[in-house]
């Protein structure tokens, strides 16, 4: 009906009321608290913080609640809030070697300094629905036995490889080089690795997962090994000009993934392993690993590889990774487009008239061709 798009004020107001009602659901069921979401849906919270580009568990929990659990919508709420925040500057690079590790595994070594720390993971759980959880009353959580961690430090696997010269250096830049920021300057191509990593870190988990998967199936193979995945707390430091030194602002939880990839060498560089890097907020290993694989894949040019696959196409990957942008443009098709559709209607009618006219002429004196019109 025509009025469907001309409802105006009242329709919108009512839609908001309906949405609020649906969001809350049956009011005889207690409302979710932000603490419940932050504590018990921590993967969702981490994903929303990462893709929403804002580290704040409370706000992420609120966004998830408000978005009825739609994580992309929740990330969007975070982004829209983020843009209104004043910007005081950029933190120092976080030092993941100094991470307070909760989980740390390497697929490339059986054992290594600091050891393998399995930590909280789904990896070896049997995916059987746990019906006991359905009746959970809240406090029956088994305590884990944890061996005291030897205080030998936990050097990154890539640093160990680097000591032997077996892997490329992490970056040719000095740490002081300015780092791009695509929230301040629009992305232009070709984009350097700093901007690519920023884009991937904000990118959609599902999109990166599919791209990473495609490289494993032959679309731009990079021979990855999970050199190391570590999850834990790192300190965020900010260099205060007034003080002349860096102060700690707080800690954040991150997952870091360093993929180690085979590299046969080129005329300029001896054979060595190369790196793919992933870093995300919270424990989101799937995304960190996918990010590292896609990062490596996008480095084809500097490593002298042939671009043959979608996951190597910088412009394609970076232009379509942001799910806030993607969902906006896909979903905007719900908005009225009847003015343009009218123009197309007119054209299609005219082209059909021409088509039937042409056929009539070809068939001589036709008399039934118009039936379809």
């Amino acid at each position: 009906m025509y009025v469907a798009v001309k409802g105006g004020e009242t329709a919108i107001r009512n839609a908001h009321k309906l949405l609020a009602k649906r969001r809350r659901g049956d009011t005889s069921v207690p409302a979710l608290t932000l603490e419940q979401i932050a504590e018990q849906l921590s993967h969702s919270v981490a994903r929303v913080m990462g893709e929403g580009s804002l580290y704040d568990e409370t706000l992420a929990a609120l966004a998830i609640k408000q978005a009825r659990g739609d994580l992309i919508e929740a990330a969007f709420l975070m982004r829209a809030y983020r843009t209104t925040l004043p910007r005081f500057g950029y933190s120092e690079p976080v030092d993941t070697a100094a991470m307070l590790v909760e989980r740390r595994i390497s697929a490339t070594y059986k054992d290594l300094p600091g050891g393998q720390v399995l930590g909280p993971t789904f990896d070896y759980s049997h995916r059987l629905l746990d019906f006991a959880l359905a009746a959970e009353d809240g406090d029956a959580v088994p305590a884990a036995e944890t061996a005291p961690v030897e205080d030998v430090g936990m050097p990154r696997v890539t640093d160990l490889l680097g000591d032997e010269g077996l892997i490329e250096p992490s970056s040719t830049d000095s740490g002081d080089a300015p780092v791009g920021d695509l929230t301040r300057e629009p992305l232009s191509f070709p984009a350097d690795r700093d901007l690519r990593l920023q884009n991937l870190a904000r990118g959609d988990e599902g999109f990166l997962l599919a791209l990473a998967y495609s490289t494993q199936r032959g679309y731009g193979r990079t021979h990855p090994f999970a050199g190391e995945i570590r999850y834990g707390e790192v300190e965020v430091e900010f260099f205060a000009e007034e003080l002349g030194f860096a102060v700690t602002l707080g800690t954040i939880k991150v997952t870091e993934c360093q993929m180690v990839n085979q590299f046969a060498g080129s005329a300029k560089a001896p054979p060595a392993f190369t790196r793919g890097y992933g870093l995300v907020f919270g424990q989101v290993e799937r995304k960190a690993m996918s990010m590292a694989m896609v990062d490596r894949s996008l480095r084809w040019q500097e490593l002298g590889e042939e671009p043959v696959a979608p996951a190597q196409d910088i412009e394609f990957v970076l232009s379509h990774s942001d799910n806030i942008q993607a969902t906006g443009f896909v979903e905007h098709l719900k908005l009225p487009h009847y003015v343009d559709f009218q123009a197309e209607l007119d054209l299609v009618r005219r082209m059909r008239d021409e088509w039937f006219e042409k056929r009539r002429q070809e068939n001589g004196s036709g008399n039934t061709q118009e039936a379809a019109e």
Binding site: F88, Y90, D181, R184, F238
Partner: protein
């Protein structure tokens, strides 16, 4: 690349003798921007700016200060001509209120402020933008302009219904030839803003200029 950490200028407390900025930063900047936008959209026409409350250190003028407060911030490197560069008060005013980095190479500047237009260096020495990104060129702001008394040139092009007369002064001797050459390299080229006592005019690179003799 974004500039390094920059604390909000409003938060700083030193320099109590500093001349104040806009009284109403939100609406004064909006008002001044609309004047500049309309000037750019209608080359050669004059647009009033509210400057009565601004008392910037000389040789910066109130209208020039209004333009600076409206357009400059820590993302815009600014080049100053010799007379402005010689004044620590001017540099302090601009740094404090806008946070803009002051650069010595005209080619690095997003904006150039010129308080002694007669001594203006060649327009070609500023950033001209590239063929792919012509928007990266410098916008040159000439201060102390009187409108109507200078050499009358004729303007044509976007923003002008038929043609318009424009006669700002002071401008350097070969200025109009430079402006003509600037227009010939469109879409590259600099854009010009002319700041008078309480009025602003502009000449974007798209404007075609004819001298009275030719």
């Amino acid at each position: 690349m974004p500039a390094a950490a920059e604390t909000m200028p409003q938060n700083a407390t030193q320099n109590s003798a500093l001349a104040p900025g806009f009284q109403d930063p939100v609406h004064d900047a909006q008002d001044c921007f609309r004047a500049i936008m309309n000037a750019m959209a209608r080359p050669g026409t004059l647009h009033g700016v509210r400057t009565s409350e601004l008392t910037p250190p000389a040789p910066l003028t109130p209208a020039g200060a209004a333009a600076a407060l409206t357009l400059f911030d820590y993302d815009t490197p600014v080049w100053l001509d010799r007379t402005l560069m010689a004044s620590d008060e001017v540099k302090g005013f601009l740094r404090f209120h806008t946070g803009a980095p002051i650069v010595s190479e005209p080619v690095e500047a997003a904006f150039a402020l010129v308080a002694d237009p007669l001594q203006l260096i060649s327009l070609a020495s500023f950033n001209q933008g590239s063929a792919e990104y012509p928007d990266t060129s410098t916008t040159v702001i000439l201060l102390k302009q009187d409108f109507g008394d200078g050499d009358k040139v004729t303007l044509e092009g976007p923003g002008i219904e038929k043609s318009a007369q424009f006669a700002p002064k002071p401008v350097p001797p070969t200025f109009w030839d430079q402006v003509i050459a600037n227009n010939r390299q469109f879409p590259r080229g600099v854009d010009l803003i002319f700041a008078g006592s309480a009025e602003i005019a502009a000449l974007p690179r798209s404007t075609h200029v004819t001298l009275p003799e030719s």
